[in-house]
């Protein structure tokens, strides 16, 4: 498998009057062609910021502070807006969390999908309507002939998500970043969408970065999973291994929530995610960590390779 994407020590900061928010603070990973990488974490872990950074959609006050994003060997952090424009929608596309707000209410769905073709192939929007109908059939939209003329407010959440997916796959991109694509939908639709993403991967060979707070879902569909906490990557490994033998205490906590046999009533880790302006010293998880040691509050753990997996925890260092 060839490598499509390599992220090296990426830092994305928000410079706010109240201080600097270190939303992504030194994350490194790679992604192979055709692979599905799951990214999991609580809200506020920096996973959405990571997604925006990869798609070149960060806006002030967010800035890439340092690090590199190598896409087919090209460093995306050095691209200007016009180069990005050629890439976005064509090579890298994105599916968003809340389909209703990510569609423009004043245009028909078909128009909005056709805009992708317009942007990359030129010509008038109207001449791409047949292609859009094909896409709708591909994403299993009911009644595509009529739906291209529907406005977003006339469609259900599931339909709208299919519209967004249509946009994302229109140009058969190398990389699809899906940021919580299913969390706003109900369970049956969720399953259909997941199934659809799998089929798309099979058909187009695109790589998918699938971001969600729902670890159970990732365990089902992702090839590998990256766990994020407070802007840092805490663990990265194959789904099966991660499920069977989680290394980081945070991963363990997350998994324990999933396992019904533990019969833990309150299904969460005590405490809440720390402030990213003034994160805890040392390991950021240590205030909530059941296995915390005194040095955890002083020493920042490094990425450590353990059996082909990466973990960042003092337990596994030296």
């Amino acid at each position: 498998m060839s490598e499509l994407l390599r992220v090296e020590d990426l830092r994305v900061y928000y410079h706010l009057p109240q201080g600097t928010v270190k939303a992504v603070d030194g994350v490194s990973f790679n992604l192979n062609r055709g692979e599905i990488l799951g990214v999991a974490g609580e809200s506020g872990s920096g996973k959405s910021t990571l997604a925006l950074a990869l798609a070149g959609l960060l806006r002030p006050p967010a800035v890439i502070e340092s690090g590199r994003i190598l896409f087919n060997g090209l460093d995306l952090t050095r691209l200007g807006e016009s180069e990005w424009r050629k890439l976005r929608g064509k090579k890298i596309s994105m599916i968003f969390q809340d389909p209703s707000t990510y569609l423009n209410p004043v245009y028909t769905s078909g128009f909005q999908v056709a805009e992708v073709y317009e942007a990359h192939r030129g010509g008038r929007v109207s001449k791409y309507m047949d292609l859009v109908k094909d896409l709708y059939r591909k994403v299993k939209m009911a009644d595509p002939e009529r739906r291209v003329h529907s406005y977003p407010h006339q469609m259900s959440g599931g339909m709208k998500q299919r519209v967004l997916i249509s946009m994302a796959i229109a140009e058969k991109p190398d990389l699809i970043i899906a940021d919580e694509p299913t969390s706003a939908l109900d369970v049956t639709i969720q399953a259909e969408i997941i199934e659809l993403l799998r089929e798309i991967r099979a058909e187009t060979g695109s790589s998918i970065i699938f971001i969600t707070h729902d670890l159970a879902l990732l365990l089902e569909i992702a090839d590998r999973i990256m766990i994020m906490y407070a802007g840092k990557m805490v663990e990265l490994g194959r789904s099966s291994e991660l499920r069977e033998k989680p290394l980081h205490p945070y991963t363990k906590g997350l998994l324990s929530v999933l396992k019904p046999e533990r019969k833990q009533k309150l299904a969460s880790i005590p405490g809440s995610i720390p402030s990213l302006i003034d994160p805890p010293k040392g390991c950021r998880f240590h205030p909530r960590c059941p296995m915390a040691m005194p040095e955890c509050s002083r020493i920042q753990p490094r990425m450590t390779k353990v059996n082909g997996r990466i973990v960042s925890c003092l337990l596994y260092e030296g």
Partner: protein, 313 residues
């Protein structure tokens, strides 16, 4: 429900409002203290002459009788005869109308042409020097009394520089100072609303989608930002225009502009009941009309509004 039906529905509604309003205004205008006959004759006239004028004008009749007469002629499309001028009210309004239309539309067009680009600029580059100066100027414009701005402009451009006529009407040159004065006052609000609306659109998620598609900046701005900011901008612009059509009283007075506003003030201060009532009815009519047009524009801009409006029918 179709557009045509909707328009018919709105016009029927407007007609009912109009009839109700005419009763209200009839009473309102006539309950104002004052005696048109005495105002015509002047304080120095003898009471018996004044009384004779009252009889001639039918002002000695009971109010309900006057109202019956008024409504009867109104339904025939006759707005009555001006007490002061002795000419049909409609004629008086129609003489002034072109001036009001010219001033209102020029001022509003000028305001939109200046305020909307400035508002967009301020939204796109909130930290730039230009945008800050713009917001300061806009706020100052809305905070200066209109007569002040007007007199300043007259003294700078007419008295000192002798570039433009100080007052009056008749040529496009006469239109410049009054419309600039009004526009200066209108720009503040309009620019601010534009800035807010554009900022809101800019921050909305569908713009992120548009960027993710790889659309060019100009297309994002035109299609996904401006179009979506149009409703609030239209609202403010139409309310402003509606108010201007009712006459910009102060501006018209300062620049001796013979529009509807000065006619209203004149008729009110002369207690010229039929004329005042006619002008107010016209103002309300213009306002309702503008509302209908604005709602239709909303519907054209935003399909959701279309559905809600159509449904209310």
């Amino acid at each position: 429900m179709s557009l045509a039906n909707y328009i018919i529905y709105r016009i029927t509604q407007a007609f009912i409002t109009f009839l109700g309003a005419s009763l209200l205004i009839f009473l309102f205008v006539r309950l104002l203290p004052g005696d048109p006959a005495r105002l015509i004759a002047g304080p120095e006239a003898l009471e018996e002459d004044v009384q004779r004028i009252r009889v001639q004008l039918g002002l000695n009749k009971p109010l309900y009788e006057q109202f019956a007469v008024y409504m009867a002629s109104l339904l025939r499309g006759d707005l009555g005869t001006s007490i002061k001028y002795g000419t049909p009210v409609l004629d008086e309004i129609l003489t002034r109308l072109p001036y009001t239309l010219a001033l209102a539309f020029t001022a509003e067009a000028l305001a939109v042409a200046i305020a909307v680009p400035l508002g967009i600029l301020a939204a796109l580059k909130p930290r730039s020097l230009v945008s800050q100066l713009v917001s300061v100027l806009a706020v100052v414009g809305a905070s200066l009394p209109v007569f002040w701005t007007g007199l300043m402009l007259i003294f700078i451009f007419s008295v000192e520089l002798k570039l433009l006529p100080s007052s009056g009407s008749g040529s496009p040159r006469h239109l410049i100072l009054p419309s600039v004065t009004l526009a200066f006052f209108l720009i503040g609000n309009l620019a601010r609303i534009t800035r807010a609306a554009v900022m809101e659109s800019l921050g909305s998620n569908h713009v992120v989608t548009a960027r993710a598609k790889g659309l060019s900046l100009s297309k994002i701005l035109m299609r996904h930002v401006l179009r979506n900011s149009l409703v609030p901008i239209l609202t403010v612009a139409s309310v402003q225009l509606g108010a201007l059509l009712g006459g910009a009283v102060v501006t018209e007075t300062v620049f001796a502009w013979p529009g509807i506003g000065s006619l209203l003030i004149d008729s009110l201060f002369f207690r010229d009941y039929p004329l005042a009532q006619g002008v107010i009815m016209f103002t309300i009519g213009a306002f309702i009309l503008i509302n209908i047009v604005t709602d239709i524009l909303y519907a054209l801009v935003d399909p959701r509004v279309r559905e809600i409006l159509w449904k209310t029918v």
